[in-house]
């Protein structure tokens, strides 16, 4: 009824090319933005920020990054954890070396440094594909974690090998350190996520995005029609690593505050982000959000239901969670390889035809 193109006339090319061509979607987008920016910051408390919203926002940035590389450009990567570590350690070194510069600039610079590292590790993708590339990025994962553990310059020679985020302010409000208000944590992550999502959405709709997708669908054909594979693959690695670096910097500075590289950015982090885009939907910005939300919320929801409501032992619930996530991944890979985003797309198609399906 509400969800249809009929009657929504476009009178300019600009209007025809907009991100959300259907009015209902546009309204939905602005309502979501209004709730996210104007309602939640006033209602959020420590638990909601630290257990749900902040991890969701940060993982969504990481998932968008990996989705650009894997979903849009078709290059499988298992190095997400390592690249997040680059973002975190770059941010830490910048924060401690230049304490007077704004943390926002540090986070963006950390993304830039990660982009450079990511592009360097993307070089082999010109020669190798598929499983072999996955193994090459796996090497990046292990090498980077080893590097940050081994070279004490990266953690400023501290005895424990941990990095701790000092207190930093944006417009006089603390956004890192223990005295950060939950709304401030939430807002800085939300601003970065919004900026990243808009950037990613528009990149994927333009020339660069189309060249990525051409490479993904068939690289030889793409080369024949004039797509430069070197440029396409390296930009995909760089842009993807930029987002992942930002998420790593936020993860360390805003969310955890103290990080130990092997534990926080190990191989399981790479898998977690990969599962997010598989469950959420490969090649979809919305899918990145859906996957991040799903995998952040599922453990919390299971815990609330299993432990707090039903009174089950905590270890049983923790094991059950592994079983459920494993089962879901197999289910999605077999039944719906395009993930939650495809379910959402199908629902929208059905709504357009409702109440007269054919």
């Amino acid at each position: 009824m509400l969800y249809r193109e009929a009657g929504d006339f476009k009178t300019s090319y600009h209007a025809d090319n907009q991100t959300f061509p259907i009015k209902f979607d546009r309204v939905g987008f602005w309502v979501t933005m209004a709730i996210a920016f104007l309602v939640i910051p006033f209602m959020i408390n420590d638990y909601w920020a630290n257990a749900i919203f902040v991890p969701f926002l940060i993982y969504a940035v990481a998932a968008i990054g990996l989705n650009i590389l894997t979903g849009y450009c078709g290059q499988v990567s298992l190095g997400t954890g390592g690249f997040m570590a680059v973002g975190a350690y770059a941010c830490y070194k910048l924060m401690t070396a230049f304490p007077d510069v704004s943390i926002v600039i540090h986070i963006v610079l950390a993304g830039g440094i990660t982009a450079a590292v990511g592009a360097a590790f993307g070089l082999p993708s010109l020669r190798i594909k598929g499983f072999y590339l996955a193994v090459a990025t796996l090497a990046a994962q292990f090498f980077l974690v080893w590097l940050f553990n081994k070279v004490s310059w990266f953690y400023n020679y501290s005895a424990s090998g941990q990095i701790n985020a000092p207190e930093r302010f944006v417009a006089g409000v603390a956004v890192t350190g223990p005295n950060t208000a939950p709304w401030a944590q939430y807002m800085i992550c939300l601003v970065f996520l919004t900026a990243c999502a808009l950037l990613a959405r528009n990149l994927t709709r333009g020339t660069i995005g189309r060249s990525w997708m051409a490479i993904r669908d068939m690289d030889i054909a793409a080369e024949i029609i004039g797509v430069n594979p070197l440029k396409a693959k390296l930009t995909a690695f760089a842009v993807s690593s930029f987002f992942i670096g930002i998420s790593g910097a936020l993860f360390f500075a805003v969310y955890l505050g103290a990080v130990e590289v092997g534990e926080a950015f190990g191989i399981q982090k790479s898998f977690l982000v990969l599962f997010m885009i598989i469950i959420g939907g490969l090649g979809s910005i919305f899918g990145s959000f859906a996957g991040a939300a799903f995998l952040v919320l599922l453990p919390v929801a299971l815990k609330v239901i299993g432990v707090d409501l039903l009174g089950w032992p905590t270890d049983l619930v923790a094991h059950l969670q592994l079983v459920i996530i494993g089962g879901l991944i197999m289910f999605f890979l077999i039944k719906e390889p395009h993930g939650l985003a495809q379910l959402w797309r199908l629902a929208k198609e059905k709504l357009r035809l409702w109440p007269f399906p054919y």
Binding site: T32, D46, Y47, P55, G161, N164, P166, F294, L297, D308
Partner: protein, 427 residues
């Protein structure tokens, strides 16, 4: 995004609906899953069973019932943070995360929220300086004490000199494993032994190359800072290369039954430190009759009396004594976290009191003050007897070399204070 928000709202309603009861809330950030569960499970069982005993026998502490809120962390810092945030709202009085990584994570948060943390023999060593770390306690001993106790024991074995000896440190490549390095380096300079460092990555199942290196270098002694599955693998590997077990000493997190039983007879003679003596205490019989037989055992009840169970029970006893002390200081049964902190800062554990509690000699006598949150720092050395299947204490409590540790603590805590703009002082 909309679906998520809906689910979030529904969950918020559930969380808010949980009733707030007036009792003493003790969160137990346990881990019964993952590669460290073998150590986490008995500790948590002991921790919970002791509070269950207090509830059953004395009606709680000072007439207030104790309510345990268990939260599974899996030894993972992210889940630890989530557990901390979800339990602190219930009026948590004292945190005992049993993980150095999670401890580093929650030290700033708990300080800002004014909730005390007790990290017994783990966590951040320089928290022993109570003037910088007002809310963190690591009595009765810390890692640097452990390193010094181990070296003092070796000095004793070698007639007072370790000159020209080689000691290898096999450590978990994390904040936990890296903690003793600074002290051992200072001690190696002082006593003239050579220290070689071998890192083992999480979770610790891959140690072949480290032990091949040990076989090649033939150090006189091997010290180990291990935890979880890493310990079993290390003991097995040491047996495989034929390293003499009596020269292999683990710290107090690498000396429980489950660490040595997989290697069978080959583990005979393996030594480890311990901060609590393990014998058949009368309190264990009380737990058996009043908690386990009543069907209230935490976990499956099979860990009663094991090394880490006793340590968990010891941790619970120290927490309960601190709460009792807080009730005494403030004359109020329903204490707040800030009052419990006062109780911890004034805690005094005597032989007589441990005897009254049915656990005579479980730990060293010590007293806590505003300045010193670290306790006496003593530890003993125990040895595994594989045929009898028991850990036998070899020594009495050995004192660490405070002249080495205290300057290091002062230095590290001063660095933390300047990084975080803390003016050292008592609350």
């Amino acid at each position: 995004m909309k679906m998520k928000r809906l689910a979030a709202m529904a969950m918020g309603a559930m969380v808010a609906a949980a009733p707030a009861m007036a009792d003493l809330v003790i969160p137990d950030l346990s881990y019964r899953t993952g590669p460290y569960a073998a150590g986490g499970t008995p500790f948590s069982d002991g921790y919970q069973d002791y509070f269950a005993l207090l509830n059953a026998r004395d009606g709680g502490i000072g007439g207030e019932a104790v309510r345990i809120v268990e939260c599974e962390t899996g030894y993972n810092t992210e889940k630890g943070v989530e557990c901390y945030e979800s339990t602190k709202g219930e009026g948590a009085l004292i945190y005992q995360p049993l993980s150095t990584g999670i401890t580093y994570q929650i030290i700033p948060k708990a300080t800002a929220d004014q909730i005390p943390i007790h990290t017994m023999g783990y966590g951040r060593t320089s928290a022993a300086n109570g003037e910088v770390f007002n809310w963190v306690f690591n009595y009765p001993a810390n890692y640097w004490d452990a390193a010094s106790v181990a070296v003092n024991y070796l000095l004793d074995e070698n007639g007072g000199s370790l000159d020209g000896k080689t000691i290898a440190l096999v450590y978990h490549n994390s904040a936990y494993g890296k903690e003793p390095i600074r002290t051992l380096e200072a001690l190696s300079e002082m006593h003239g032994f050579e220290l070689s460092q071998l890192a083992v990555d999480h979770p610790g199942q891959e140690q072949k190359s480290q032990w091949l290196q040990i076989r090649r270098e033939r150090p006189d002694y091997v010290l180990m800072w291990g935890w979880g599955v890493m310990n079993q693998v290390a003991v097995q590997e040491a047996a495989n290369i034929g390293f003499p077990m009596e020269n292999f000493i683990g710290n107090w997190w690498a000396g429980a039954e489950h660490d040595v039983t997989p290697a069978g007879d080959a583990a005979n003679g393996y030594k480890s430190l311990n901060m609590n003596r393990v014998v058949d205490y009368p309190v264990l019989a009380e737990i058996q009759s009043m908690v386990h037989d009543a069907g209230n055992a935490a976990g499956d009840g099979s860990n009663l009396g094991s090394v880490l169970y006793v340590r968990g029970m010891y941790a619970a006893m120290l927490a309960a004594e601190a709460i009792a002390k807080a009730q005494e200081i403030h004359g109020e049964a329903d204490v707040t976290p800030a009052m419990v902190r006062d109780g911890m800062a004034a805690l005094e554990i005597t032989e007589a009191r441990m005897g009254e509690l049915g656990m005579a000699g479980i730990g060293p006598e010590f007293s806590v003050s505003c300045q010193n949150h670290g306790g006496s720092g003593q530890g003993l050395v125990q040895q595994w007897n594989a045929s009898a299947g028991v850990w036998e204490p070899l020594t009495d409590f050995i004192a660490p070399d405070k002249s080495v540790i205290e300057p290091l603590i002062a230095e590290d805590s001063a660095a933390f204070a300047s990084e975080n703009n803390i003016t050292p002082g008592c609350l």
